[in-house]
């Protein structure tokens, strides 16, 4: 195994925590680290979502590196409150503050921050990836906030949904399904509006939407929790299930079978039945897949993405008769490896970099590549049909708006795939 990483497949943990906090209403991420630890990830969000994002930073300097940054942190929290009065501040650690060894919990415990909740989120950059950073953030949010004042009755028929690092469009599709099924729900970290905000003046101080603190508190009372991405939210789901006894499941509703499973899971948790309106959506997806199977069948696909997304797309392309010859995960995981082995006899790259993916592509010769904007290099070099998915997609417009989840998302993805095949290989290719 190489020591050097060439063209990384993963980002570091703090950006995952920021992603999670943008889905909480009136929350302010506060990065405890260097200024670059805030500025650089902000640009990633700007380029992918084409939305403004605001991230505060404790701006640790040389003094803090030597003498510790705890004092700096308390001053930072007070500054954030004075400026923006957020409902919640997520203190996101970095390689810098974790290596210094600041006592974050101690610093926060000592402060009086009024109405603003302050939650520490440990995301040292030298552990895990953006995916585990998101997972850590979700775990911290539910562990610190759920159940705190669950005094009012009601809400026992609710289902908590933890989306993971998916797009606003994906979250919208999932909420659409829950609405059709009449299942009351709380999406924990809901970016569907906060990172797809309308342009209406005056601009609100915080974007509308997002999960409220009350919803986070009441998430304790729900009858079940589904994490759409097991690696990004699964730990929080397990926490809720372990502490409050609710049913926990994990399913990434991309493709026919996965969406069927998602509906089954909802039915089992709540006792509702799948309405005809959703059966029709399923039927439309099947119809769309019948329309294109002549183009998709037998096509060899290489798929790169965060572990759960990569697996779910691999399952969907299998439903289209394609052959997922390479399945690659941004983040190394035993669970991913086991599940990928069940889907393909081909190459499995478990947390390897994109240079490794490039070498695998040269060897295995797929015809279609799924991945984020950084995969374009490989697609261009090997002249592959290219489907953009994941984060970041910054070289095209609108991918964040269109969901690939649910039956309707499946139709969109099947169309994308087929059009990419037609563009690259022609009508009879």
């Amino acid at each position: 195994m190489r020591s050097v990483t060439i063209n990384p497949a993963k980002m570091c943990q703090p950006i995952g925590a920021m992603y999670a906090l943008f889905g909480i209403h009136a929350a302010a991420p506060l990065v405890h680290g260097s200024q670059g630890c805030a500025a650089y990830p902000m640009r990633m969000f700007n380029r992918h979502f084409r939305e403004p994002v605001q991230v505060a930073v404790s701006a640790l300097g040389e003094d803090a590196a030597v003498f510790g940054g705890a004092e700096n942190l308390v001053a930072s929290i007070e500054n954030v409150i004075a400026r923006r009065h957020p409902d919640l501040i997520g203190v996101i650690t970095t390689c810098l503050s974790e290596t210094i060894g600041d006592d974050i919990e101690g610093a926060i415990r000592g402060g009086d921050f009024g109405k603003s909740k302050v939650i520490p989120i440990h995301t040292p950059s030298y552990v895990g990836s953006h995916v585990t950073g998101y997972d850590n953030a979700l775990k911290s949010l539910v562990a610190d906030l759920s159940g705190n004042s669950a005094s009012e009755d009601g809400g026992e028929d609710r289902v908590n949904i933890i989306p993971g690092m998916i797009n606003p469009g994906d979250v919208c599709e999932v909420k659409h399904i829950l609405d059709l099924m009449r299942v009351p729900h709380t999406v924990i970290s809901d970016i569907s509006e906060t990172l797809d905000a309308p342009l209406i003046l005056p601009k609100p101080p915080f974007p509308e939407g997002g999960t409220s603190i009350d919803e986070l508190v009441n998430s304790a009372k729900a009858c079940g929790v589904i994490s759409l991405c097991d690696h990004a939210g699964g730990t929080a789901a397990k926490f809720l299930s372990g502490k409050y006894g609710m049913t926990a499941d994990s399913v990434c509703p991309v493709g026919v079978v996965n969406t069927d499973r998602f509906l089954d899971s909802l039915c089992n948790m709540t006792g509702v039945e799948v309405p005809y309106s959703l059966e029709k959506e399923r039927g439309r997806l099947i119809d769309a897949m019948v329309d294109v199977h002549q183009y998709t069948y037998g096509k060899r696909a290489a798929i790169y993405g965060d572990p759960d997304i990569s697996l779910a797309i691999a399952e969907f392309v299998s439903e289209l008769g394609m052959d997922p010859v390479i399945i690659s995960s941004s983040t190394a995981s035993g669970k991913f490896l086991r599940r990928a082995k069940g889907i393909t006899d081909g190459e499995i790259l478990n947390g390897r970099d994109l240079y490794e993916l490039q070498l695998a592509v040269e060897m295995v010769c797929p015809e279609i590549l799924f991945g984020n904007t950084h995969c374009k290099l490989i697609a261009d070099k090997e002249k592959l049909a290219f489907i953009r998915c994941g984060f970041p997609v910054s070289d095209r417009i609108g991918y964040q708006r269109h969901g690939i989840t649910g039956y309707r998302g499946g139709i969109y993805l099947a169309d994308l795939i087929t059009n990419a095949i037609l563009d690259r290989y022609g009508q009879h290719g």
Partner: protein
């Protein structure tokens, strides 16, 4: 009241010292180049950003290896948001190299991992002419001796391996990173190669990063004059070009915040003088050409080129000037562009009503103050909350800034143009000035700005029904 406290800064009064309203009867500058207030929603980057992202990164034929956890390398992949073009585009900015330091490396040290990484990266891309190693925050804390590792690796692979200690926590902004990159490149690279031959008309262009190909319109102007460009520091530069920079007769300094250090160092050691230049707009570009021509004794040739270039763009610029007359701009840039552009926009009939820099020093603010009219707001290191207040209060016709501020401006309904990466550049010299004007036209006159609705805000501060 020359210094002004914005409403959003009431609880942080020290920010008042960074905000100044120009009054020519006084001799005041806003406070600058100091540590950001902890917890600020700052737009600033770190020392690594200045060193690797700005100055080191554009060098086109070396491996840029980032020593640290994975994020820092990822953010600068492909130049990040900086379109520093080069003619080695199959390699440069396409590949991203990192040691991806893991927890056990942080505990036990990362020197072995760094050494192996340099060797492996070189083996994967043996055609490169050097390796630049950048240390990020955690490395400074654990104390890896990257200089020693680089020497050992250099002996092994036989090409230059250059260490940059540019940990993000050093310094108060990107600015120290520029300085570190200047010092290191001077110490390790400049003077390590002799040019094949020299002429009496050899010049370096220092401090241009070839954003969207600026150098590809700058260079030919000087070449037509009979000047040979020995090195462009660092846009589209090879490491060998930087190595032979000490044999030029003159350094032309464009970015005067990120490169005065190397100009001074070269002057001290090799006796090469430098000239400061603004290569934006007709007036400033013509002045730069004349200054260089005077140095080399090429005045007639320069006048010929200036006449020719002006005749090609002046009629169109005049049309744009008529369209733009009376428009008001807020310029927020890294540092020098904030003052480079005051005159340039004035040539287009656009007046600067607010100016700000991310990492400017006193001399940058002095230059801004020289150029803007009384009453202009000048603000140092503005954060997003302050920017929002200024944008809402002043309602400039156009805001020229960078990506992080772009969507804030859009959400406030204020026309925006990217001055860091440009919209559709190049934007330097005469032909670029015309591109700039075209982009301003698109920005100002898009019909979409007339279609934004205003919502009712209810007593809870929430938006309700919309009215036209």
């Amino acid at each position: 009241m020359p210094l002004r406290l914005l409403d959003c800064d009431r609880s942080i009064p020290e920010r008042g010292k960074h905000t100044y309203i120009k009054d020519s009867s006084e001799d005041i500058l806003p406070l600058s180049n100091i540590q950001t207030t902890p917890g600020d929603f700052t737009e600033r980057g770190c020392t690594y950003a200045g060193c690797m992202g700005v100055v080191g990164g554009p060098v086109k034929d070396v491996i840029h290896l980032v020593h640290g956890p994975i994020g820092c390398a990822y953010w600068t992949w492909g130049g990040g948001t900086r379109p520093n073009l080069s003619d080695n585009s199959n390699f440069h900015r396409k590949y991203c190299f990192s040691t991806d330091m893991q927890e056990d490396n942080i505990i036990f040290g990362g020197e072995d991992r760094l050494y192996k990484s340099i060797i492996e990266a070189y083996e994967a891309f043996p055609e490169v002419r050097g390796v630049f190693v950048y240390a990020t925050c955690a490395i400074g804390l654990i104390g890896d001796d990257i200089g020693a590792v680089c020497r050992r690796a250099e002996n092994e692979i036989g090409i230059r391996v250059v260490p940059f200690n540019c940990e993000g926590f050093r310094g108060c902004s990107q600015s120290l990173g520029h300085h570190i990159a200047n010092d290191v490149l001077f110490e390790y690279v400049v003077g390590t190669k002799e040019p094949e031959y020299t002429t009496d008309f050899d010049m370096n262009i220092i401090g241009d990063y070839n954003i969207q190909g600026d150098l590809w319109v700058i260079k030919p102007l000087f070449e037509r004059m009979g000047i040979r460009i020995l090195c462009t520091f660092t846009g589209n530069s090879s490491i060998d070009e930087i190595a032979q920079a000490h044999r030029a007769k003159l350094n032309l300094m464009h970015c005067q915040r990120s490169t005065p250090y190397i100009c001074e160092l070269i002057k001290k050691k090799y006796g090469i003088p430098y000239i400061r230049a603004s290569l934006f707009g007709i007036e400033q570009t013509s002045k730069a050409l004349r200054d260089v021509a005077t140095f080399f004794g090429l005045e007639d040739k320069a006048e010929e080129i200036i006449d020719d270039e002006i005749s090609k763009v002046a009629p169109e610029i005049e049309e744009y000037r008529k369209k733009f007359e009376g428009k008001r701009i807020f310029i927020y840039q890294g540092a020098p562009r904030a003052w480079h552009w005051v005159k340039m926009f004035r040539e287009m009939g656009i007046e600067t009503i607010a100016a700000a820099t991310t990492f400017g020093h006193e001399e940058d603010y002095a230059k801004i103050c020289e150029r803007v009219k009384d009453g202009t707001i000048i603000i140092d290191n503005p954060n997003s909350v302050e920017l929002e207040e200024i944008l809402i209060e002043l309602k400039p016709d156009i805001f020229v800034s960078g990506l992080k501020e772009k969507y804030l401006s859009y959400k406030l309904g204020i026309p925006f143009m990217n001055g860091h990466a440009y919209e559709k550049g190049p934007c330097a010299v005469y032909s670029g000035f015309l591109n700039f004007a075209r982009d301003i036209e698109k920005t100002l006159f898009s019909p979409i700005w007339g279609m934004i609705k205003k919502g009712d805000v209810n007593s809870h501060g929430e938006l309700g029904r919309c009215e036209a």
